[in-house]
Amino acid sequence: MSKLLSAKTKEVLLGPLNKNNPITVQVLGICSALAVTAKLEPALVMGISVTIIVALSNVIISLLRDTIPNRIRIIVQLVVVAALVTVVSEFLKAFAYDVSVQLSVYIGLIITNCILMGRLEAFAMSNRPWESFLDGIGNGIGYAWILVAVAFFRELLGSGTLFGIRVIPQALYDIGYVNNGLMMMPPMALILVACIIWIQRARNKELQEDN
C-alpha cells in the first residue's frame, strides 16, 4: 500500500481537491459549472459521471500513450472520450433508464468538458496508468465538490429547497421572504465560483499572483 500511495501519488490524488483544483485554479470545466448547478441533484450526478469518465479515459490514454502518433493525439483523446461517454450512456439506457432520463443532456455535455481533454493532455500522456487513474479521480472529485458547493447555495437561495425538498419554512415566506430569482440565472454560478476562488486564494499564499 505504501508503494501504491507514495507522497507523489498522494499529491496527485489530493492536490486537485484544493491547491490544484480543476475549476478554481486550473480554470477548466467552467461552462458545465454554469449549466448544471441550479439544483443540487444534477450537480452531484454530473460530478460523479465526470469523475468516472475522467478516471477511465485517463487510464486508457495512459496505456496507449507510447503508441499514439503525436500529430493526431488530440483526435485520439477525443475519440476515446466520445466512445466512452457513448458506451456509458447506452448502458444507462438499458440498465438504469430512470437515471439516463434524468441525466438526458448532461451525459452528452461530459464530452465537451475541458477537464477531460485538459487532464488527458497534461497528465495521462506522460504518466503511468495508476497515477493517471488517481489523477482522474482526484480531478473529478475536485470538480464535483465545487459544483455541489455552488449548487447548494443556488438551490437554497434560488428555490428554497435542497435536493428538491423544501427547507425554508413557509412561515418565512408568509412574513415576506422571497426566493432570489437571480440565483437561478447562470451568471450567479460564476459569481459564486469567484467567491470560492477569493476565499481559497486568501488562505493559500502560494496561489496569489504578485502584480
Binding site: V36, A38, K39, P42, D66, T67, I68, P69, N70, R71, I72, I75, V76, V79, A83, T86, V87, E90, F91, K93, A94, F95, Y97, V101, S104, V105, R154, E155, G158, S159, G181, M184
Partner: protein, 240 residues
C-alpha cells in the same frame, strides 16, 4: 518504432476508427431490445402518472393492464379507426403531428378509476430548448381535467424543467377546457399572480416563461386535435 511517420499515423487512425465503430455498433446492437423495452415501460409509467397513480416500487406493467381497459385510435373527426390496444399504444405522436390534421391517427387510452371512465390524450409540443410532451386525463364529462403528466427533453433545471414537477401538474386538476358556451378554449397558463377571465388558468413557472407558454401552446394544439371527440355526447362514452 517511429510514431511520427505519415504511414504510421494513417494506419493508427484507421485502426482506431474501425475498432471504436465496431465497439459502438456492438454495444448498441446488443442493448437495443432492452432499451426499447425500457422506452415502452416508461411510456406506460407516463400514462399511469396522468391518472395520479403512485408508481413507487410498483410493477408498472401490471398496473397498466389493471388500469387501462382499452385504447382506441381516432381521427380528427372523432371517428374510431381501430380499437386495438397495441396499435394505439404504438402510435408515434411525433409522426402523426407531421401529417395534415385530417390524416392523423390519434390515440386515446381509456382507464377505469373508481368505477369511472377516464380518457387519456397524448400531447406534444416545444419548450425552450427541445421537445416537451405529456399525457392528460379527462373525467367522464370530457371537459374537466382529472390529472396531467408533463415531461421535457432539455429544459433548464430549476426553471422550465419545473413542468415535470408534480406540484405544477396538480394545478391542472379540475380545470375545464370548455367555456360556458361549450366552446373549446383549453387552459391558460399565466404569470403567477395574474388572471385570465376568458378561461380556466393555472400559474406558470417564474423564470420559465417560454416553457410555460410552450405547455399552454401544446395543450391548445394537442387537445384541439381531439375537439370533435371531446364534444361527443359524454353519456355515451366511446361510441363504437
Amino acid at each position: 518504432m517511429n510514431t511520427n511517420k505519415n504511414s504510421y499515423t494513417i494506419i493508427y487512425a484507421i485502426i482506431m476508427v474501425v475498432v471504436v465503430a465496431l465497439l459502438l455498433a456492438f454495444v448498441s446492437g446488443a442493448l437495443k431490445s432492452k432499451q426499447n423495452a425500457n422506452v415502452e415501460l416508461d411510456k406506460k409509467k407516463q400514462i399511469l402518472s396522468s391518472l395520479n397513480v403512485d408508481l413507487n416500487g410498483q410493477d408498472a406493467e401490471a398496473l397498466y393492464i389493471q388500469y387501462i381497459q382499452k385504447a382506441v385510435v381516432i381521427n380528427s373527426k372523432g371517428e374510431i379507426l381501430s380499437d386495438d390496444k397495441d396499435k394505439a399504444f404504438k402510435i408515434d405522436i411525433v409522426k402523426e403531428l407531421s401529417k395534415p390534421l385530417e390524416n392523423r391517427e390519434l390515440p386515446i387510452y381509456v382507464a377505469t378509476v373508481d368505477g369511472q371512465e377516464k380518457y387519456i390524450l397524448s400531447t406534444r409540443g416545444a419548450g425552450l430548448w427541445g421537445p416537451i410532451w405529456g399525457y392528460i386525463a379527462f373525467n367522464e364529462d370530457k371537459n374537466s381535467i382529472f390529472g396531467t403528466y408533463f415531461a421535457h427533453a432539455s429544459e433548464t433545471p430549476g426553471l422550465g424543467a419545473e413542468i415535470a414537477n408534480k406540484d405544477f401538474q396538480q394545478e391542472f386538476i379540475g380545470k375545464k377546457i370548455m367555456n360556458s358556451d361549450n366552446e373549446f378554449v383549453s387552459v391558460a397558463i399565466v404569470k403567477p399572480g395574474q388572471k385570465n377571465t376568458e378561461k380556466d388558468y393555472v400559474d406558470g413557472i417564474s423564470g420559465g416563461t417560454i416553457t410555460s407558454k410552450g405547455v399552454e401552446d401544446m395543450l391548445l394544439k394537442s387537445i384541439g386535435q381531439y375537439e370533435s371527440f371531446l364534444k361527443q355526447n359524454a353519456e355515451g362514452g366511446i361510441q363504437q
